[in-house]
């Protein structure tokens, strides 16, 4: 299992692996939004948590179609399915590798980019907490979508359409934690919901992903 994780991380970092793609997209969104909104710092401060969360979510979505499709194309997925690793472990490791290469950099970069959007002072801590709690759910749900569409040519559009509705609860509660944190309100309720979504997705979806992957490999 460690071998698979290390291989995926190494592949992501090597040339053409797509590491940094999500981060670059996140940077572009947060740099351009202030230009589009105009010089209204009060408005920017209001929308900052939502924009940061939306940017992070779309950045996660961007790299999903590579998650399993590359392994499908070169036959590794067939070979992994006949290896001693259970497919449930394979998809969990794949989701973890996706989170480390996409979700974690977003979490770490978010405070720096919050400055560009005039995020209020108390909001930084809650932004990082909410992203750290929510992005694992985005990776796990995304892996499920990738498993559903793995055999399809140009499955990226279908993947986005399937995954976006599943992302909505994470977005609502994640952005709510960041928004409440930024204005100094109590964040316990949305944060618990967000952690619950992540924990539930992490516990259940690998089994669903492995099941649809088995069907798709036939």
């Amino acid at each position: 299992m460690i071998a698979l994780l290390l291989r995926d991380l190494r592949l992501a970092i090597r040339a053409g692996g797509g590491f940094g793609l999500g981060l670059a997209f996140f940077l572009i969104v947060t740099v351009l939004v202030p230009f589009a909104v105009g010089p209204q710092s009060a408005l920017l401060a209001t929308i900052a948590p939502g924009v940061l969360w939306l940017g992070a979510l779309l950045a996660c979505l961007l790299s999903l179609d590579r998650l399993l499709a590359l392994d499908w194309e070169d036959g590794s997925l067939d070979l992994l399915a006949t290896a001693p690793l259970p497919l449930e472990a394979v998809v969990t490791i794949k989701a973890l590798a996706h989170w480390i290469t996409t979700g974690l950099p977003l979490v770490l970069a978010a405070p720096a980019l919050g400055v560009l959007l005039n995020l209020p002072g108390p909001g930084y801590l809650w932004l990082v907490i909410s992203l750290a709690a929510g992005t694992p759910a985005l990776s796990v749900i995304g892996t499920f979508g990738a498993a559903l569409t793995v055999g399809l040519k140009r499955g990226g559009l279908l993947l986005s359409l399937l995954v976006l509705p599943l992302y909505v609860p994470t977005l609502i509660f994640g952005a709510e934690v960041a928004r409440r944190g930024a204005v100094g309100m109590d964040t316990a309720t949305p944060l618990l919901m967000l952690v619950g979504i992540s924990a539930g997705a992490l516990a259940l979806l690998p089994f669903a992903s492995a099941a649809v992957l088995r069907v798709n490999l036939r």
Binding site: R7, A15, A81, T82, P84
Partner: protein
């Protein structure tokens, strides 16, 4: 432990292709599958490897004992030859990669990115993966594609060593590997479409 296939019916895309197929593959033996294109050799091998369920019949002695090699080699172009092999060795929990590199004359290439290899060299890397799995039953689908005569001889030697060690091999191929192996022509097992699917459905719909 034997690999036993009994009364197997398999389907590709919902259409039965082979029916009533059965054979026993003992340790130390190789079985070569022959048959025209489209007869279902790949489907048969995928079924035995557990990648798809059979329509009916049973495959025993395959669970966690199979090393499968398909048309695609599962090679990552940005990893080096040694990194590719080491990954599979670690996944299968088997030993070192040096014997596998030597068996397929890949030692000199071990530091090269796999993406820069020729088609034949990639195939050799794909076959070297079989040696690092430590699995007793090799299930091989057209393993000699894009290999030259010298590489085919290397491959035949690897198979012989594997059989001598007590392993077995099930190979779908059209060329003569020079192995002491039984040959099974799957053509007589072609599924009778009219009997297996057509008439019943027709009768239900229009009868």
């Amino acid at each position: 432990m034997d690999l036993t296939v009994s009364d197997l019916t398999i389907a590709r895309g919902g259409v039965p292709v082979l029916a009533g197929l059965g054979f026993v593959l003992e340790p130390g033996h190789a079985l070569i599958l022959r048959g025209p294109n489209g007869i279902g050799k790949t489907t048969l091998l995928r079924t035995i490897a557990g990648l798809q369920p059979p329509v009916s019949g049973r495959v025993t002695g395959a669970e966690d004992r199979i090393a499968y090699a398909a048309h695609a080699d599962g090679i990552k172009p940005t990893l080096s030859v040694a990194e590719n092999l080491r990954f599979w060795a670690r996944v299968f929990g088997a030993g070192g990669i040096q014997p596998a590199l030597e068996a397929f004359d890949l030692t000199a290439l071990s530091g090269r990115p796999a993406g820069s290899l020729s088609a034949g060299q990639k195939r050799r890397l794909g076959l070297a993966r079989l040696l690092v799995t430590g699995r007793p039953v090799w299930v091989l689908d057209e393993p000699t594609v894009s290999l030259d005569t010298r590489a085919v001889a290397m491959f035949a030697d690897a198979i012989r060593a594997h059989l001598a060690w007590g392993g077995s091999a099930l190979i779908a191929t059209h060329i003569d590997l020079g192995l002491e192996a039984e040959v099974l022509d799957v053509s007589p097992f072609r599924a009778d479409l009219a009997k297996t699917a057509g008439t019943d459905a027709f009768d239900e719909a229009f009868g």
